[in-house]
């Protein structure tokens, strides 16, 4: 038997220099080399109880794949990961590992020691596969022909829909994805910026799906262009709804109608999906010297760091709780600080003030203090009366959350929704309509890429059982 020695420090991740990267859209974290990956994999002590696996929503066989990496068997490692996770290049980059797999790692429990860098290793293995296999340009000709098989419609091409479609294709269904935008990927392409998740990685994953025979219909807003009945008439026997939670929330304060106040959704869509950062594209995006971003999650970090890259002189993140409570991935917060983003904690805007032409000029903020813990267990921020002051800003980007988009759901009679408008499902991800399944943010509210993928996979299993007449309604 091999003897394990505890190595407390992780192999550092090579990164672009913060000063340089603050002005470009290339990926920030550069990825491990083979040597680094093997070194980090050797830190894993191969716990018998596999606590890390319990932290992963899709139960990637973590010790097993890491053992393969340590043994220089990258091919074996990728096969292990893919048993559970079909989009490892994406998850390795965007999963909040510090609250999932890595939170449970034994090495992290030892004083002064850091967990094994599971996410970085997962990313390394996935990138290795794409490099060696050099999947290259997508060729329609290689598609598997599934015509004649049972037709299933997947609505929404975010991580939930893509995963569900992939699983269904493996089960030999004739799957078509209907996507409202002109590109597939959901938040992966319109929300998460290039410097954190290069779009060619998402595209590769989508090409893989098409090679499995999955058909994709873009520019198809279901609920408008087609109702579910229309699709039933076209022969679809079951449906998966993965339309995300895309309705932006605006703070209810005076001034939100001003030019220069925009949702993170709009800001990021203009920049990522519509490539406003590239001068050869026509899409415009609001510019300014001083930009305030409201919120403390991943969306706020992405907006702030995007603003910096588009040339803002100063970017301020205004968050109503303290540093401890920010919900963003730790790494993204640290990267933002390194890049020079300013954080104003325990502050909340009360008013946005415009100039005579209707453009933002100033924002009034109030200081907050933390009170008793609320239902979510976090200490509730309370405004301190009389502590208001104003700051000069050119743009205010709201990254304070989203709600369920009713565009499709309101057009499906008898679909049961909860009081916030999210779809109610049972453990098979089946909705109140037997042949309609759902998963991802439209069921849970804003969550994570990996949980959306997990839901898509469960739903595929549910749909398979349902179509075989084997789904018990328990």
């Amino acid at each position: 038997m091999r003897k394990y020695q505890i190595i407390k420090t992780r192999t550092p991740m090579p990164q672009q220099d913060p000063h340089e990267r603050a002005h470009n859209f290339s990926e920030v974290a550069l990825g491990y080399t083979e040597e680094m990956a093997i070194k980090e994999a050797n830190r894993c002590i191969q716990c018998k109880t596999r606590p890390c696996v319990k932290g992963c929503p899709v139960e990637v066989p973590i010790p097993e794949f890491i053992a393969k990496v340590a043994a220089h068997d990258f091919e074996g490692a990728i096969d292990k990961i893919k048993e559970k996770n079909v989009l490892p290049a994406i998850c390795g980059r965007v999963c909040p590992q510090e609250t999932q797999c890595e939170a449970k790692c034994t090495l992290g429990k030892i004083t002064g020691s850091r967990p094994v860098a599971i996410g970085r290793l997962e990313r390394f293995v996935a990138d290795w596969e794409q490099r060696v296999k050099d999947i290259g340009e997508f060729d329609e000709g290689t598609c598997v022909d599934l015509s004649g098989k049972t037709k299933v419609a997947v609505i929404g091409a975010g991580p939930a829909g893509l995963t569900c479609a992939g699983e269904l294709a493996k089960l030999d269904y004739d799957v078509t994805i209907f996507e409202a935008f002109h590109k597939t990927g959901g938040v992966l392409v319109y929300g998460i910026p290039e410097f954190r998740l290069p779009k060619k990685i998402v595209q590769k994953e989508i090409d893989n799906l098409r090679e499995c025979g999955v058909k994709i219909k873009l520019d198809a807003v279901v609920g408008k262009l087609y109702t579910l009945e229309d699709l039933e008439e076209q022969g679809y026997k079951a449906f998966f709804i993965g339309v995300g939670a895309g309705l932006p929330i605006f703070l209810n304060i005076p001034g939100i109608e001003l030019n220069g106040v925009l949702s993170a959704n709009e800001y990021l869509t203009r920049v990522n999906l519509m490539k406003a950062y590239d001068p050869s594209y026509d899409t415009m995006v609001d510019s300014g010297k001083v930009i305030a971003v409201l919120g403390g999650g991943n969306v706020a970090m992405d907006s702030a760091r995007t603003a910096l890259r588009l040339g803002a002189e100063k970017v301020i993140v205004v968050y109503r709780r303290s540093e401890k409570e920010i919900p963003a991935r730790r790494e993204e917060y640290e990267h933002a600080v390194e890049e020079g983003i300013e954080f104003h904690f325990l502050r909340n805007p009360t008013k946005i003030i415009g100039d005579e032409k209707g453009f933002v000029k100033e924002m009034e903020v109030i200081k907050m203090e933390l009170g008793e813990p609320d239902a979510s267990g976090r200490r509730r921020p309370i405004p301190i009366p009389g502590s208001e002051y104003t700051i000069s800003v050119d743009l205010v980007i709201m990254a304070i959350g989203t709600r369920a988009n009713p565009l499709l759901t309101q057009n499906i009679p008898n679909l049961k929704l909860n009081k916030w408008g999210y779809i109610e499902v049972n453990k098979h991800m089946q909705s109140s309509i037997p042949n309609v399944f759902a998963g991802g943010d439209i069921v849970t509210g804003s969550a994570t890429v990996i949980s959306a993928m997990g839901a898509g996979k469960e739903a595929a299993k549910g749909i398979h059982k349902f179509l075989q007449g084997k789904l018990d309604d328990s």
């Binding site: 409202a180 935008f181 002109h182 873009l218 520019d219 807003v221 408008k224 262009l225 087609y226 895309g246 309705l247 932006p248 605006f250 939100i256 109608e257 030019n259 925009l262 949702s263 959704n265 709009e266 869509t269 203009r270 519509m274 490539k275 050869s280 594209y281 026509d282 899409t283 415009m284 609001d286 032409k357 209707g358 988009n405 009713p406 565009l407």
Partner: protein, 298 residues
């Protein structure tokens, strides 16, 4: 993949307004008055909205009528039948509310807004309404579709700002005359924001004239058209922010803060101007290159 342009026709001598028929059979089945489509012409192009000006379920087509103002609309005007529009998404927005009214319904179309009142006029007439349309334009050359309307509605009133055709004056003058003469059930106004603002002011019951429910069609800057970005939000008079793409674009004209809408539409004015200048410059260079090539061949 794309959506094929079946025909293109300029509607005036100035060639600033054109009509295009696009092959989109699935959309034609679902489209109604009040709906719009979002287009993208090239990989580098922006997404921009246009109202459905007509639809034909049998032929499987959607008609749009477009005014050339900036880069995207100019680029579209240069496309020819047979070419394909890269993205053509819809039908988006709420469909117009159609019911049988007791008294006549008046549809007011100003400028390029003449086109989008057509499907609504058609649908209102089909269920037996008495339909009156007022078509307004700056000058005779900018007026179009008069015959098309005459074939389907009860009365067509034409007015031009300079009196070069029809009666001289504004659409609001003609609407006022109607309001003074007979009871009306509903007014629908589509055109420049300023026109819709004055129509709504005339019908809000706060002057000497009776109040008439009035629908206007909002045209704020949009991205997705599905409620996802909030860029299209507009302010109601009672201070709420709503999204034009899903709560509209047809909304109650008596509850819109038009001044805010005008301000919001100037959001990218500077950038748009620069972009169009660059585009025109490139076009000139291209034209020069073409000419040079032509001369070489000779």
């Amino acid at each position: 993949m794309g959506w094929k342009i079946l025909s293109k026709k300029f509607l005036n001598n100035e060639q600033s307004v054109f009509e295009m028929v696009v092959e989109a059979p699935d959309m034609a089945k679902k489209a109604h008055g009040g709906n719009f489509v979002i287009l993208r012409l090239t990989e580098q192009g922006e997404r921009f909205p246009l109202t459905v000006a007509d639809y034909d379920v049998e032929k499987g087509t959607i008609t749009i009528v477009v005014m050339k103002i900036g880069k995207s609309t100019t680029e579209l005007s240069l496309m020819e039948p047979g070419e394909e529009i890269l993205d053509f998404v819809g039908p988006l927005g709420k469909s117009a509310h159609i019911e049988k009214y007791e008294h006549p319904v008046v549809l007011v179309g100003g400028g390029v807004g003449i086109a989008p009142i057509f499907p609504q006029a058609k649908e209102l007439k089909a269920i037996g309404n008495h339909v009156i349309v007022i078509l307004g334009a700056r000058t005779k050359d900018l007026l179009f579709w008069e015959d098309k309307f005459r074939q389907i509605v009860d009365e067509v009133i034409v007015t031009t700002d300079d009196g070069s055709y029809g009666k001289k004056g504004f659409v609001t003058d003609r609407l006022k005359e109607l309001m003074e003469n007979k009871p009306l059930s509903h007014v629908i106004a589509i055109g420049p924001i300023i026109m819709m603002k004055f129509v709504a002011k005339l019908t809000n019951g706060q002057g000497d004239l009776p109040k008439i429910p009035t629908t206007v069609s909002l045209n704020p800057i949009m991205v997705d058209g599905t409620g996802m970005c909030g860029g299209c939000r507009f302010l109601t008079l009672d201070g709420q922010a709503k999204f034009a793409c899903v709560d509209g674009p047809d909304v109650d004209g008596h509850n819109v803060n038009f001044d805010n809408l005008i301000a919001r539409n100037s959001r990218f004015q500077r950038e748009e101007h620069e972009r169009l200048e660059k585009f025109e410059h490139e076009c000139k260079l291209l034209a020069m290159a073409d000419k040079a090539e032509g001369e070489c061949k000779e």
